[in-house]
Symmetry: C2
Subunit: 310 residues, 2 copies
């Protein structure tokens, strides 16, 4: 069982995947084209797992470059990559993992990447901008593209003594995944998800933000980086890949909504249906809306400092 004499055929490589999903399942993964929106602490782990799993084609979308503070969570990124575009760092890593994977990149905000989104079978996102999620959800519903949205958030309060000093008191380590199958399951808007105030702040220009800060309408804490740790991202990213594989190969039906809390280890799944009066899912209702105005479907270029890292 030394590898030296191994035959380098796809079947040898995917032998144990085939024992789970069959050749048909592996073929299905190989002919699927995913968009991974956000190549930070969630998207980079998903991109690596999708590629090792045998997904054939990935379009990586993210405007950011690698920061030193991303390294504790950004799979495929190493210290020498600081300053390089995340999409290029992740793409190069995927090419090392599997020479057959086709990975293309869009180093821009997803709002400016609609031509690339039109090519894909399914969109997967790991973002931390509420406004970007809302835009992507509206795009997915409009274009009938399945959309799987993953997110994490750690909440802390005060500080407490530990054996080695003081540390923030961790209250919750939440991860969630929403599967939006337009026409079948609830969309982001159906569930009224996303803090409108946070989305509003995200949409401010830098100048507007400075002014609101000066006037006390928003405070620094609303703009500072969130706590983040790799194993929470690993759980949520991996579970997202598992749900996407269920959708793609059909071996089981994924839940429409999944919530994981990492302190208590509670895991909750929900079934959803589109809300009859959701203006996105049912544009004929009284609550019809102007997508461009209400969900900002126009290219967004007002934020010089997008933050997509989880």
């Amino acid at each position: 069982m030394t590898g030296a004499g191994s035959t380098h055929t796809p079947d040898a490589r995917f032998d144990r995947t085939i024992r789970a999903l069959g050749q048909s399942g592996v073929n299905r993964l190989a002919t699927t084209h995913l968009a991974v929106v956000g190549c930070g602490g969630l998207g980079s782990i998903m991109a690596e797992e999708f590629t090792r799993y045998g997904i054939g084609q990935l379009t990586l979308i993210d405007p950011d470059v690698v920061e030193e503070s991303n390294l504790p969570r950004l799979f495929g990124a190493f210290p020498a990559d600081v300053g390089r575009p995340k999409v290029e760092v992740v793409r190069d890593h995927l090419a090392r993992i599997d020479e057959n994977v086709r990975a293309t990149t869009v180093q821009d905000r997803v709002e400016n990447a609609t031509p690339a989104l039109r090519e894909v079978d399914l969109i997967v996102a790991g973002l931390d901008r509420v406004s970007t999620r809302q835009w992507l959800n509206a795009y997915a519903v409009q274009h009938r593209t399945p959309y799987v949205d993953a997110g994490v958030i750690i909440t802390t309060s005060g500080t407490e003594e530990t054996e080695t000093g003081t540390a923030p008191h961790i209250e919750t380590m939440d991860g969630y995944i929403q599967v939006v199958l337009p026409g079948h399951s609830a969309c982001f808007a159906c569930l009224n998800r996303g803090d409108p105030e946070r989305a509003r702040i995200e949409r401010l220009t830098e100048e507007e933000r400075e002014e609101e800060l000066a006037r006390g309408y928003i405070d620094e804490t609303q703009l500072s980086p969130e706590p983040a740790v790799v194993p929470l991202n690993g759980v949520v990213a991996s579970k997202t890949v598992q749900l996407v594989a269920k959708l793609v190969t059909g071996y089981a039906e994924p839940p429409d909504y999944l919530h994981f809390e990492g302190v208590s280890n509670d895991l909750t799944t929900l079934s959803t249906t589109p809300r009859p009066d959701c203006p996105l899912c049912n544009p004929g209702t009284d609550q019809d809306l102007d997508l461009e105005a209400d969900f900002d479907l126009t290219p967004a270029e007002n934020d010089p400092d997008p933050e997509t890292d989880q």
Copy 2:
């Protein structure tokens, strides 16, 4: 927020981890020495996450070389690594991730690695040999070393038609993690874990195995590779890292036993206590046993084909 001007200090790198765990938590991770036993589809993901998280020192233990069929699950391994020892491949990857991590390797079965085990604060294992788990559990209880054991298993039955052909019917995708804190929580033996027949087969020499096959005492299916997929491993490995971080930093108390089922997304946690008549945890009981004989604590060299990949 471009990375080009970032200051390369440890604080900048771990900024968002510090926002979760505090400087004291990060310090605690940095001064912890873990053994990662098994550098396959679970251990390699754990090793990468531990290193990105900032664990200071890792001892990697695994006898195997990389096979082509490991590539879909072995983080840090690329096609050119086929034939190289897993421990060296993972060690080189960890050095790329963080130039400060101290990673040492033992390319041998853990039964032969007791000098290395004596150095560590905590043992983490991702194995698929029942007999190796039993040995490690006995070692941990005897030496009062905390031991976190993770495993995955996919069960399938028959085949079913899919849109693209036939595939095995996936029944369950199970992952579990047991936290053995000697004297405080149940050990592997307390819970009677591990199929004795499987452990017996694992301990056969190749010659004995051939003979049992020929005589029909065991059949080929008991020796063939198990189904395996990366996202199940990713969930279980990440959750293991999360539990270890709770133990090391004390930010929350981990469960003693955690079970995850990936088809239903059921997650169960249990509290345990050492069983009063467990011969390992309470060697003074009537059920005392001969560790060497019953748990094979002597170096095991009879298996030319150890299989530690998940």
